[in-house]
């Protein structure tokens, strides 16, 4: 208990850090993932190939290595002096985008064939079919896997703490370096993560309920 009371400001900053890096990289992952999923189902072979390469590369690379890439290689390509928060969010977002892409793609394949055929027979183009007919229906089936992907993202955000981003893992290491017993520190960090992950799964349950339709 002392650990929390004595270092509440740091704990609060860590909590806010975890929440904000999760939020920012979720948005990056969602946007990128949907775009790449669009590439992977598109009628243009080079784009399909690019999508497949993207997913294969990112899914088989440890996230920690990706963090190294974003902290040591990307600043050299773009421009130096990006903040650790931005770099960590990008690394997390890119990594998770490959999982989002696969979830969206499998969601697309659950939409009945007739839907896209009907859209095409109305004269809709590929992007119209995808945007207006298929993706809205795929969204409903994609929500449950997306929820677990974002929970995984929250947990993965702990790695950012080792790359000097203020978040909960950083608080854990800081406290244990200051000589506090690890058990209470672990307990408070655990509770904080449980709060965040429960909030995410609650949010998704709410979304599922509002988007529910009789089929």
């Amino acid at each position: 208990m002392n650990v929390l009371l004595d270092h509440f400001p740091e704990f609060r900053d860590g909590f806010i850090g975890t929440v904000s890096i999760t939020a920012v990289s979720s948005v990056i992952a969602l946007v990128l993932g949907i775009v790449i999923a669009g590439f992977r189902v598109s009628p243009v072979p080079p784009l399909r190939f690019f999508g497949t390469a993207w997913v294969t590369l990112l899914r088989n690379t440890p996230l920690t290595l990706l963090f190294l890439v974003f902290f040591f290689v990307v600043p050299e390509i773009l421009f130096p002096g990006m903040s650790p928060f931005v770099l960590a969010s990008l690394a997390l977002g890119f990594y998770t985008s490959s999982f989002v892409c696969e979830a969206v793609r499998s969601g697309i394949s659950t939409v009945p064939l007739g839907q896209a055929e009907a859209a095409r027979s109305l004269g809709m183009s590929f992007s119209q079919t995808l945007r207006l007919i298929v993706l809205p229906q795929a969204t409903r089936t994609v929500l449950p896997p997306l929820s677990s992907i974002f929970i995984a993202l929250t947990k993965n955000s702990a790695i950012a703490g080792a790359f000097s981003v203020t978040e909960l893992f950083g608080w854990q290491t800081l406290m244990s370096e200051q000589g506090y017993a690890i058990a209470p520190v672990f307990l408070w960090v655990a509770i904080a993560y449980l709060v965040i992950t429960f909030a995410i799964s609650g949010l998704f349950r709410l979304l599922e309920r509002t988007m529910e339709v009789a089929r």
């Binding site: 088989n60 996230l63 040591f72 993965n156 703490g161």
Partner: protein, 283 residues
């Protein structure tokens, strides 16, 4: 390309349009790659000297040692997580309420915590001087919980008749679990179990945080200790180690796909048996 739901076999106009998209897309992607390569080259990251470091026997030895260390931690974690997974799955399916509760609580807590937090806590609390065991234990706890859920799903997916038949033969609860349910569950879930092992393999890189000298740790060490042309060779080191990781993971995934294909063939082969029973009962 008629396999896709989303588009027909393209007509002449669509073919022209697709070709334009293809060319533009390829150019864009190649352009991005070219810009990256040029910018990296400008800063001297692609100079031959940067790649020469891998010709030194010391660095090669480092990489080999690190690979061995990664595989060691992975092997321990794989065995540990599978054993723990079986134990937890069986405990969750137990008839005794307290056992079930303890197992469920354990799984829920450690599954929803970041692996890094668990590994770090294990390291600081028990195994500060044994980072390999801390890493292996942390990985085993987390992945054991995941594997337990996979196995539980597998056991629940075994047809009810199997269990009933086994009980009807007079088998004990333990016998039913170990000789009838678990083997079928493990076989059905093998592809998922191996995919989780791929995740475990990737997660050994968290050993970096607790100073276990595995691949990523030595990558960082090599890159930050070798000064070439006044620069640290992060780019070349990351490329080399990235290739090693991707190769390891792809090999494991290929194993999963192969087993899945074999399993599918086996299942269709054995399906003949049950398929003719309804006919025989009709007569």
């Amino acid at each position: 390309m008629s396999a896709s739901v989303l588009f027909d076999a393209p007509g002449p106009k669509a073919r022209v349009r697709n070709r334009i998209y293809a060319v533009v897309g390829t150019l864009l992607i190649l352009g991005l790659l070219a810009v990256s390569v040029v910018r990296l080259n400008d800063k001297g990251h692609l100079a031959p000297e940067m790649w020469d470091i891998f010709n030194y026997s010391g660095i090669r030895q480092n990489i080999a040692d690190a690979l061995l260390a990664t595989l060691k931690a992975f092997g321990l974690a794989a065995v540990g997580s599978l054993v723990l997974g079986v134990v937890l799955a069986v405990a969750r399916l137990s008839d005794h309420k307290p056992v079930r509760w303890v197992a469920t609580g354990f799984i829920e807590v450690f599954r929803s915590l970041p692996l890094l937090i668990t590994i770090y806590a294990v390291w600081v609390a028990f195994l500060t001087d044994y980072s390999m065991w801390a890493l292996a234990l942390g990985l085993s706890i987390y992945n054991g919980c995941v594997q337990a859920e996979v196995l539980r799903a597998g056991v629940n997916a075994v047809p009810r008749g199997q269990r009933e038949a086994a009980y009807a033969l007079g088998m004990s609860k333990t016998q039913v679990m170990t000789t009838v349910l678990l083997p079928q569950a493990i076989r059905a879930m093998l592809p998922t179990i191996i995919s989780q092992l791929v995740v475990t393999l990737k997660d050994t890189s968290l050993g970096y945080m607790i100073l276990y000298p595995e691949l990523l740790y030595s990558a960082q060490l090599i890159a930050s200790n070798t000064l070439v042309n006044g620069q640290y060779p992060y780019v070349s080191v990351i490329v080399v180690f990235g290739v090693i990781y991707i190769a390891l993971c792809l090999a494991l995934s290929a194993l999963a796909t192969w087993i899945e294909k074999r399993g599918r063939r086996a299942r269709t082969g054995s399906a003949k048996g049950p398929a003719d029973t309804p006919d025989s009962t009709k007569n």
